[in-house]
Amino acid sequence: MTKYLIKRILLAVLSVFVICLITFFAMNAVPGGPFNSEKALSEATKAALEKRYNLDKPVIQQFFLYLGNILHGDFGVSLKTGRDISGTILECFKVSATIGGLAALFAVIIGVVLGAIAALFRNRWPDRLIVFLTTLFTAMPSFVFATFLLMIFCIQLKLLPVWDASSKSLVLPVVALAAYPTAYITRLTKSSMLDALSQDYIRTARSKGVPTIKVIFKHALRNALIPVITYIGPMLAYILTGSLVVENIFTIGGLGQQFVKSITNRDYPMIMATTIFLAVIMVVMNLLSDIMYKVVDPRIKLD
């Protein structure tokens, strides 16, 4: 187990390095730079700025300078705002992670429950209703769903504020963000639950005199959750780091919004820092889901 963890962490560092490398060079290969759009800059000022941020040096050298800096924990300052990058990212991440965490929790709980219900009532009306809803939410893009939510709950019914600082304003973004993963987890749970229910060990459990409820929750569900767990890891990484669409529609200053802003601004240090942050989260979540896998299924060997 320890050996496995060390191996995985080394691999994770390697992945993050490769992601850094690709992003850095791709970013620099695109024409234009952070100071291009500002028309008022004189040639001399621009040259001075580029020198200040090492942009006049060859790209390879820039890359290693950058690597050296981040190894010291220095992610630099935003070229746009001049503010410290680590601070900005943490601040944005807090916002995204709150909404994302709630959405993930919602998706897992509701998804597993609905999936189990659909499997148990296969081909009866609860199943049909759930299948209809999951198809709808899988197919509907989040910007359409988010807009609908705003229209109905804020404008028509006036139940919730369009935007304010209260926790009430979290409800709609959470729902909008959770819609797709909930639908996906429901479908996943349903199919794996159906599979589990048809297994021989379910017949064994029934033949022992185990009551139906316990057959379902003890014997079938735990087996059915194994595929769901593999999905939860990447889903968490994706959902915690913020969604551009949902954050823009609900004007939430989260990581998703920040990421896109930094790209349009050519804010090199910001792009790099956000990318590395997202990569680290992704790698950590994948590792966590592999460990969870082992916890749920004793047949899995981690080595």
Binding site: Q199, Y201, S207, D297, P298
Partner: protein, 339 residues
């Protein structure tokens, strides 16, 4: 039905009909099966795939697939009809009165729980033992079924055990609540030959120790010959012949049984060529009007096509349903239907 004061038999299956609802229609898997099982005895049910032997067993336990249901007949356990039991009553019957082990020990244990957990579960459901008492009882069961190093094995997961050991665990689990009947559905089919013999011996040994009745369902005539006091041969959802092992093996009185015996090798006559039964098992969706075996029978007569043969008593313990016995006048009497 029975004389006053006389103890009813342990298990009596009367005119059992079980069918499955499928997209192609109603599949009649069991079509009027009768048998009686006495305490401490072994009944063997033999037949090929699709003969209804496993479905008969599952009907007794009421663990049929969702689309399967008992449509007619009674299953009397100590004189009480269990086909009308509520799910709650049935859960007491299952495991506690009657237990079952299955063909494939590889897939019959839940992969995500330890062996101990699964045996303890069976104990805890049917008794008010505490967790630690259940643990102790589970350990004892594992030792009883001949598992060495039970303390270590009890903490292991099914995938860490061999096939033979898993089947032993299945037996330990089945017997944990001391049922009076053990149904063994092809208990040795998935095992190596040497392990097969061990498992059969174990079952016989435990039967003597615990005085339980066994219903052994198999397509393996060798297993049946070794184990059963009475043998029932099934074909197409019906019983075609029944009797002691001697009756069935030395004096078969149904063309299907004769065919079965011709198709297995014999130690005393190795030179004789094995003769398979021609044709395919019948389609249960489309049952013939007469004898189910008729289409594959070398001796088939016109009456076989038109009428189901009655069950005739060939000898005291030996009954068969074959028109050949009528033709050859090879019977004692027509058994009394109201018996």
């Amino acid at each position: 039905m029975e004389e006053k004061g006389k103890k009813p038999p342990l298990l009596q299956v009367i005119d059992l009909h079980t069918s499955f609802t499928t997209d192609n229609g109603e599949v009649l898997a069991v079509n009027g099966v009768n048998f009686t099982l006495e305490e401490g005895k072994t009944l063997g049910i033999v037949g090929e795939s699709g003969s209804g032997k496993s479905v008969t067993a599952y009907s007794i336990m009421q663990i049929l697939e969702k689309n399967g249901h008992i449509t007619e007949g009674q299953i009397l356990f100590q004189g009480e009809d269990i086909t009308h039991y509520s799910p709650k009553q049935m859960n007491v019957f299952r495991g506690h009165k009657c237990a079952i082990i299955f063909q494939d020990p590889m897939t019959s244990l839940n992969p995500v729980y330890t062996v101990g957990n699964q045996i303890e579960e069976a104990i805890l459901i049917h008794s008010d033992k505490s967790k630690s008492e259940a643990r102790a009882a589970a350990l004892e069961m594992l030792r009883l079924v001949g598992i060495n190093d039970a303390e270590r094995r009890i903490k292991q997961y099914p995938h860490e055990l061999s096939g033979g050991m898993r089947q032993r665990v299945m037996i330990a689990m089945a017997l944990a609540s001391e049922p009076s009947i053990l149904i063994a559905d092809e208990p040795t089919t998935a095992l190596d030959v040497t392990i097969q013999a061990q498992i059969l011996e174990l079952m016989q040994e435990l039967q003597r120790k615990l005085n339980m009745a066994i219903i052994i369902v198999t397509h393996d005539l060798g297993v049946i010959a070794q184990m059963a006091d009475e043998i029932v041969v099934m074909y197409g959802g019906r019983i075609c012949e029944r009797g002691t092992a001697d009756d069935i093996f030395y004096r078969p009185a149904h063309e299907y049984t004769k065919g079965l015996l011709r198709s297995i090798p014999r130690v005393d006559n190795m030179k004789e060529k094995l003769i398979p039964i021609g044709g395919n098992p019948i389609n249960l969706l489309n049952m013939p009007k007469g004898c189910a075996f008729c289409a594959r029978c070398d001796e088939a007569m016109k009456i076989c096509i038109d009428e189901v043969p009655p069950e005739l008593r060939i000898h005291d313990t030996h009954l068969a349903s074959c028109w050949m016995n009528v033709k050859n006048q090879n019977y004692m009497e027509v058994p009394d239907k109201d018996e």
